[in-house]
């Protein structure tokens, strides 16, 4: 029968590899059997308490148990919403206002924090208190049999230009489509050993989580601190015999730029997938030189299209000033490049990257307006309903027929692999007492977010207040005070002037 539920991947694997390590961090390992028993136990507990078809907030530290709690949510017919312990309170509160969740699963570290949220009035359960619950197989089978492949399995929150994070909701069908096609391109199998770099509260970790279930592979969660210390990081990869990484570019260039390969080389790596940023060719060559036989694949895709939707296998040489293409869409996905008058762009003509296919997510949770702005009727089809997702990214087809990324349409940037709306930073700065105006710009070359502001507050106080509101990666790297913000003739913030000032400095 055709697969309609993401957890069908687990059914076969649990028979074949019950005692193999599924998910681990540096000092804690969980076998497939443990993940299976605990996720089904917790699922039964959730079902016993009446939770069904609703968001389950998972507020835990990055840990194999957090992943197990994800699966528990899906087994129970609910959808998981991962929240990170390092997210600022104000952001979590905005998310709770959007979700209105009735239940949250925590660990020992987050339990105390969770109890203090004023906007959360639901039940809080500690993972370890409910993970030994006995699974009711009949009940879980019944929940499974009623589930459709168009039912949601998770919500992840992305930066929103109005300052309010948007919750992207994905269903079984789009995730299955993604995992099948990604696995084929990257050639995962049961010997695959992943080292996960990306946070569990974004869609990026789908690349490791579900292929691990599908193939009976193994995923190691790399401690975040290792990404500051390149020698330790490569030693960790070697110790765990990691052969596959799907990382943001800055995690890879951090290793190569510091000449780490003179001290230690990743011995087992065979597949290196990267994305979210431009890979500088100088750094790429260093990787290629130490791992000449490895496969290098560039991935591209928005959260709204379930992770990644395009890939490019690097199989030719690139000059220092060239960019690696984002290539071509996965099987069962089409990329339309639309010009401003909604025509298909010709070769070498820039157009907005629009995505068509099963990979489209369900949209933004409790936000029909924003959903309808981004997920729109295909303008090339006036015969029947057909949605495309407008990414806001500009691309072009080069003379080889490869898709190239050109730029962003609006003020969205990619910084250290994170997607950030500069507007969200400005929104939060403007809300602070004493601030009279602000503007954020991005220095692409030095990879710095630069914030200009005016008002009665010193830089240190401003940064401290922002830390309470924004995630770490959105905090400006440089803060400059102005007597007043430059404005355009129609009274809007003059970003071009800021940019010019910055460059002149």
């Amino acid at each position: 029968m055709q697969q309609t539920n993401i957890l069908e991947y687990f059914d076969e694997t649990i028979e074949k590899y019950p005692d193999k390590i599924a998910f681990a961090n540096e000092d804690y390992e969980m076998t497939f059997q443990e993940v299976y028993d605990q996720s089904r136990g917790i699922a039964t507990f959730l079902s016993d308490h009446g939770y069904y078809k609703e968001p389950i907030v998972i507020f835990m530290e990055k840990h194999p148990k957090m992943i197990t709690a994800f699966f528990a949510s899906v087994y129970s017919g609910n959808y998981y919403v991962p929240i990170d312990s390092e997210m600022p309170r104000a952001r979590i509160e905005l998310i709770f206002q959007k979700l209105n969740p009735r239940v949250m699963i925590c660990d020992d570290t987050t339990y105390g924090l969770a109890e203090e949220f004023p906007d959360f009035s639901g039940e809080i359960y500690r993972y370890d208190d409910i993970s030994a619950s006995k699974a009711d197989d009949l009940r879980l089978d019944e929940i499974r049999s009623k589930a459709l492949d168009t039912d949601p399995i998770y919500i992840v929150f992305t930066s929103g230009s109005t300052g309010i994070p948007k919750g992207v909701l994905a269903c079984h069908r789009s995730v299955i489509d993604y995992i099948e096609n990604l696995s084929e391109v990257l050639e995962f199998n049961h010997d695959t050993v992943f080292a996960n770099q990306t946070p569990l509260y974004f869609d990026a970790c789908l690349k490791e989580l579900y292929p691990t279930l599908k193939f009976g592979a193994t995923t190691y969660l790399v401690p975040k601190q290792y990404f500051m210390f390149p020698v330790k990081l490569v030693e960790f990869l070697n110790e765990k015999k990691v052969n596959t990484v799907c990382w943001v570019v800055s995690a890879l260039t951090m290793i190569s730029a510091f000449n780490t390969f003179k001290t230690v080389v990743p011995k087992y790596l065979k597949t290196i997938a990267f994305g979210s940023e431009v890979f500088p060719i100088k750094q790429f060559r260093r990787w290629k030189e130490v791992l000449p036989d490895a496969k290098f694949i560039n991935l591209y895709g928005p959260t709204e299209c379930t992770g990644m939707c395009c890939y490019y296998k690097v199989e030719r040489e690139f000059e220092l000033d060239e960019h690696i293409p984002i290539g071509r869409p996965f099987h069962n996905t089409e990329i339309l490049l639309l010009t401003e008058d909604n025509q298909l762009a010709k070769p070498n003509e820039p157009g907005e990257i629009c995505v068509r296919g099963t990979s489209l997510t369900l949209g933004y949770y409790r936000d029909f307006e924003k959903t309808n702005e981004a997920f729109v009727q295909n303008p090339l089809n006036d015969k029947y309903p057909e949605l495309i997702y407008r990414t806001g990214d500009i691309g072009l087809w080069n003379e080889r027929g490869e898709l190239m990324f050109v730029s962003r349409k609006d003020y969205q940037i990619k910084h250290m692999g994170h997607r950030i709306e500069l507007g969200e930073i400005e929104f939060n700065v403007n809300m602070l007492d004493g601030i009279t105006g602000c503007g954020a710009i991005y220095d692409k070359k030095k990879e710095k977010i630069v914030l200009y502001y005016s008002g009665e507050m010193d830089q240190a106080a401003l940064v401290n207040l922002l830390k309470e509101k924004l995630p770490r990666y959105m905090i400006p790297n440089k803060v400059i005070q102005y007597p007043a913000m430059p404005l355009t003739p129609n009274g809007k913030l003059d970003r071009k002037k800021l940019m010019a000032d910055y460059e002149a400095d």
């Binding site: 601190q225 500051m228 800055s250 951090m254 510091f258 830089q459 940064v463």
Partner: protein, 76 residues
Amino acid sequence: MEELLEILKELHPEVDYETCTTLIDDKILDSFDIVSIISEVNEEYDVAIPAEEIVPENFNSAQALYALIERLMDED
């Protein structure tokens, strides 16, 4: 030392670098900061911090980092 404090202040104006000895342990510096510090130290002092010296102990305080820079300058 002055120049180093400048570099650090620019990244996190809110931190008291004279007294803080837990820049890594308390997650004050992140990987982006480390990358910036290394490249700016390189520009300012003309020393390249080799990969094997990029360890938590050398970045936990301004003092430790300065000691590392001095050691590397002597080796030149």
